[in-house]
Symmetry: C2
Subunit: 177 residues, 2 copies
Amino acid sequence: MEHAERLLAAAGELFYRRGIRAVGMDDVRAASGVSLKRLYQCFPSKEALVVAYLERRDERWMGSLTSYVAEHGGSAEAVFGWLERWFAEDGFRGCGFVNAYGELGATSEAVAEVARRHKRRLRDYLRGLVADDLLADQLLVLVDGATVTAMVDPERATQAARAAGQAARALMTAREK
Amino acid sequence: MEHAERLLAAAGELFYRRGIRAVGMDDVRAASGVSLKRLYQCFPSKEALVVAYLERRDERWMGSLTSYVAEHGGSAEAVFGWLERWFAEDGFRGCGFVNAYGELGATSEAVAEVARRHKRRLRDYLRGLVADDLLADQLLVLVDGATVTAMVDPERATQAARAAGQAARALMTAREK
DNA sequence: TATCGTAGAGAACGACCGTTCTCCGGAGCA
DNA sequence: TGCTCCGGAGAACGGTCGTTCTCTACGATA
C-alpha cells in the first residue's frame, strides 16, 4: 500500500479520536510505520496532513451516507437511520469537521475552508433529497444537531437520532400538503 | 477577589475566540494584567482555569437565553430569536462547550463533564418550555444544529436560525393536535 | 530605622512539538 | 570487491508551553 494512504489512515484515526493538536507528527509516524522523512515528503507540513485528512474524511463520510441512503429507498428519512448506526460505532466522537473547525478554524484558513466545503456539500446532497431549500436547511440543522448531542452525551445518542428523524418526517409531511 | 474575575474575563475571551490549546497561560496573564504567580494562586492549573471558564460561560449563556425568552413571552419560539441575535454578535464562534469538548473531551474528563452538564441543563430548560420529552429533544437538536451551521458557515447563520425556528414552530403546532 | 512578609516581573526549567539533519546499512551495478 | 545512491532511524534544533523559582521593591509594624 502506498505511503500516503497508510499515513492518512493512521492520522485520520488519531486526529479524530484525540483531537488534532493532541497528536504529534511522531505519533503519526509511529502509528503508520512510515518514516518521518517520507512523511514530510508526502505532506510538507502538519497543516497539509490535516487538510488531506479532512478531504479524505469528507469523501468517505459522504460516500458512506449516500450509498446507505441509496440502498434504503433514497428518502431523506434514511439519513437518520444512517446517523443512528454511525453514532453507535466504536470510537464515534462527533463530526470531525466541526471538531477541526473549533480547534483550528480561528488559526488556519485552510482548515476552515475545507470544513465549510464539507458542510456545503452535505447541504447540496440533502437538497437533492427534498423538495425545497428551507427543508434542506432544516435537515442539515437536524443532522448536525443530532451529531453534537450524540458526541457530548453518548447515552442520548440514539435518542437524538430518532428525535431528529421523527422531526424530519413531520416537517416533510407537513410540507407536502 | 477581583483577580479571579479579571482572569476569567480575559481567559474566556481568548479561549472562545482562538480555541483553548492555542492560548497560553502567558497570554492570559498579558490580557488580564494579573501576574502569573497570582494566576496560579487562583487556578492551580490550566485545566482548572478551563473548567472555571466553562462554568462561568454556562451561567452567563443560560442567563442571557432565559431572560431573553422570559421577556419575549416565554415561548420556545423566542429561543430562536435569541439564537439569531447571538449568531450576529461580533466574535461569535459557535458553542464554546462543543468546541471545548472536541478539543479536550478525549483528554480531560473534567472538561467533558462540564460540557455534558451544560447540554443537560439546556435540555432541562427547553423541557420546561414545551409539552413533552420528544419535543424537548428536538428543540435541543435544532439549537445545536443551527449553532454549528452558523459557526462553520457564517453567511448562512441567520438563515439557519430562521430555518430552525420555523421547524420548531411546525413541530409544536403539529404536536398540539 | 530595622525587619519582615508579600507581591510582581520575569528568568528558569523540563517537557514536548514541528521540522530538519546526520549517520549508517543495504541494494544495485560495474 | 568497491562505489554510489537511497531510505530509515533517530538525534538535533529552535520554539513554545505549563509551571516553578528567584530577585527585587515596597508597605506595614515595632
